[in-house]
């Protein structure tokens, strides 16, 4: 029989390193705020006949928007981000571009938000994620109330969940730094979905542990290990089916939801890893009170590497 739980400290090491990379990236680069999180305007323009990026920049500068950020997309459109424009300013700018560059501009999308909206989005996003985590902690503690320590099941699920959210946020912070990927309200939606999915996955394994505990006399570690093995095919198959549809959406679904779907793809992979390698394994740590082993600076003679 495969021994998953025996390797739990290797899993923890990997998870800790990955989390560390994500935290460092978040601290260094942060997330690139999209239109929902900062005030300003953003638009996608396409031109017939096409115009050059330099000409477009100079018209923007002439119109008083020298600080606008212009990006050429793969579909030969331009995405422009700038300070907040009102309806008149927007219309004047488009007219200016049309006259000066002798082209016809189609504004494929335009979005604009003020300071108030931006700060509200941040506030509500933070509240939503915290409330979601609390509700789930309470829910799991309630579901596993007949277990000896119901609260620790909830805590372990939350640890797995925080890991998932951290991985998604960390990867998006790297993508923001190196590929200009921004986070918006849909990113938060994706995050909350990841929260839901990661718990969904964790509960399936937890349920199995609970069931096996009720008719097994083996050690807690053995019960957890066999529960992981019994559910691993299901975990992988479910992730695979969800990944099939997500990858199809990512590749074919158009640019509007591409980042949103990417959040879900990363979250789905992290969630599956986490339910097998983090959540259930932490349960053993809590059950056996192995907290001292989690301390990387503990004295060697109390526990050696060979125990890993």
């Amino acid at each position: 029989m495969l021994d998953f739980v025996g390797k739990r400290y290797w899993f923890f090491l990997f998870s800790a390193l990955l989390s560390l990379v994500c935290i460092v990236s978040l601290v260094l680069f942060g997330l690139k705020p999209g239109i929902d999180f900062r005030s300003g305007s953003s638009m996608t323009l396409s031109f017939e006949p096409p115009v050059s990026e330099n000409d477009l920049r100079s018209v923007l500068a002439e119109s008083g928007y020298g600080n606008a950020v212009v990006r050429h997309t793969s579909d030969d459109d331009y995405i422009i981000r700038m300070d907040e424009l009102n309806a008149d300013q927007n219309r004047n700018l488009l007219e200016n571009i049309n006259t000066k560059l002798a082209t016809t501009t189609t504004q494929k999308d335009f979005s604009s938000s003020s300071e108030v909206v931006a700060s509200n989005t941040v506030k509500y996003a933070a509240i939503a994620i915290v409330v979601a985590s609390l509700c789930i902690l309470l829910y799991i503690s309630f579901t596993f109330r007949k277990m000896p320590k119901p609260f620790s099941w909830g805590i372990c699920a939350i640890i797995a969940l925080v890991f998932n959210v951290l991985v998604v946020a960390g990867i998006f912070s790297l993508l923001g730094k190196f590929a200009d990927v921004e986070v918006d309200a849909l990113f938060i939606t994706g995050m909350l979905t990841v929260v839901g999915y990661s718990v969904h996955d964790t509960i399936v394994v937890f349920d199995r542990i609970r069931e096996n505990l009720s008719h097994s006399s083996g050690s807690f570690e053995n019960v957890v290990n066999s529960s992981i093995i019994q559910t691993i095919i299901r975990s992988l198959n479910t992730s695979l089916t969800i990944l099939f549809v997500l990858v199809a959406l990512f590749l074919l679904g158009g640019p509007t939801i591409r980042n949103f779907v990417l959040v879900l793809i990363i979250g789905c992979i992290a969630g599956t890893y986490s339910s097998i390698c983090n959540a259930s394994q932490f349960l053993i740590v809590v059950e056996n009170k192995e907290y001292s082993r989690l301390n990387p600076f503990r004295k060697r003679n109390q526990g050696s590497l060979s125990e890993f």
Partner: protein
């Protein structure tokens, strides 16, 4: 007739009903029109207005002001004839307006958002013109005495009876003609009497829009000229409905071009269909006969969910299509849970019928508990989406919720009925799981 056949008949009826509701996509069924698509799929503009409640009439509560604003915006829009706009309060002091389709957005924005306080100004004091420093007339609000003989008031839009668009017979240009009510006529008569042969002006929201010499004493009617025809139409609508109670400011705006919208719709539909086909193929490949049963119940599942979307109706947005597709994944998950359980029971040597019952019974707590976690997140997402007017987020939460709810029903009732029926009637001998065969 046994219990399984009854179930089968019910399922077939349900499938027929759902298909009848769903097809054709734009057909009217049970009083509901075709599928509703959000602004990101049909194109349009999403506006969030902030009302400046500090400027409200002290005798009204915030709630009354907001209700009045929503009603007036609705009336303005209805009078304009655009139709199918969605207007809703958001929070304590915001109003969300969703305008679908392509049209002159700038015009719509000024129609909705201008306060439209009309005021009559004069430039004389004690019979003589007064001037600004630059030599222009120093216009100020004109007032008069009301019918009770004692109250003095300025002449504003609140004394209007009606307004309409007309044609100036000399210039052949559009004008706004208006009629004062009884008190307004009394005021206007006093103002035109003392301003005879002098300039008076009409101000809208503090900006001069028309200026003319008074040729004769007028009481009940007036005219505003010098505006473009479409502005005349907007102004007439606004004057008839009355000024907004407080000023509005656009704090968020999102436009989506209709072409981009329909392009997104096609792309995401194709992506969704391909994704679902791959899932079905995977299930058939991996789980054989029972995988095929899942593929069939998945098709039934999809038609039920789509029928619910059409009947509620659910406004479909790009994320909500993603929500639907993910819920298909969740629906498959329930089946995978059951089959993995069934395999274990069979490997443990139980007989097929007993194993089927046992697998469904034992998989149920996992399906239930894990889906409740998803319901919790859906609830929070819905709150998150409605607290700041993100129609995309709300759409996602609703479709995911419906999808997961139906998936529980589908996995437990539809898949089980099929399997029991096929086994019970001896149509299939076993479920042909590879591992089970190997061990047998």
């Amino acid at each position: 007739m046994n219990r399984n056949s009854v179930f089968l008949i019910l399922i077939v009826l349900l499938l027929g009903l759902s298909l009848w509701v769903v097809l054709p996509p734009d057909g009217e069924r049970l009083g509901k029109k075709g599928f509703q698509f959000g602004l990101d799929l049909q194109g349009g503009t999403h506006l969030v207005y902030q009302a400046d409640l500090s400027k409200k009439d002290a005798t009204m509560t915030d709630g009354q002001v907001m209700d009045s604003l929503v009603r007036k915006i609705e009336q303005r829009v209805n009078a304009y004839g655009t139709g199918d706009l969605q207007i809703a309060k958001q929070g304590d002091d915001k109003i969300v307006v969703d305008i679908p389709g392509v049209r002159d957005i700038d015009e719509a924005i000024s129609l909705i958002g201008n306060v439209a306080i009309l005021e009559v100004y004069e430039a004389i004091e004690k019979g003589e013109y007064v001037y600004n420093a630059d030599g222009s007339y120093a216009y100020h609000p004109a007032s008069g005495t009301l019918s009770d003989g004692s109250t003095t008031d300025t002449l504003t839009g609140k004394y209007l009876k009606s307004a309409s668009v007309g044609l100036d017979s000399t210039t052949n240009k559009a004008v706004v003609q208006f009629t004062w009510n009884d008190e307004g006529a009394i005021l206007f008569e006093q103002i035109t009497t003392r301003n005879l042969n002098k300039y008076i002006a009409i101000y809208l929201d503090g900006v001069i829009i028309s200026e003319a010499v008074v040729n004769s004493v007028i009481s009940d009617v007036g005219m505003i000229s010098g505006m473009e025809a479409k502005d005349c139409q907007n102004l007439a609508i606004q004057l008839n409905i009355g000024a907004l109670d407080v000023p509005l400011e656009i704090i968020q705006r999102a436009d989506v071009d209709a072409t981009l919208g329909s392009d997104s719709l096609n792309k995401s539909l194709i992506a969704g269909i391909i994704g679902i086909i791959i899932v079905a193929a995977f299930m058939i490949y991996y789980y054989g006969v029972s995988g095929t049963i899942v593929a069939v119940s998945l098709a039934i599942y999809c038609s039920i969910v789509l029928a619910i979307y059409k009947l509620l109706p659910v406004t479909l947005t790009l994320p909500s299509i993603a929500g639907f597709v993910i819920s298909v994944g969740m629906a498959v998950d329930a089946n995978i849970l059951i089959f993995e359980r069934l395999k274990e029971e069979l490997l443990a040597g139980r007989n097929l019928r007993y194993a089927i019952d046992e697998a469904f019974r034992r998989a149920w707590p996992s399906i239930r508990d894990s889906n409740i976690a998803t319901f919790i997140t859906c609830g929070i997402l819905y709150w998150f989406g409605s607290s700041f007017g993100a129609f995309m987020v709300k759409g996602f939460a609703i479709t995911l919720f419906i999808g997961v709810a139906v998936s529980m029903f589908s996995a437990i009732l539809i898949t089980r009925s099929f399997i029991k029926l096929l086994i019970g009637e001896g149509i299939i001998k076993g479920l042909s799981f590879r591992e089970v065969k190997k061990n047998a």
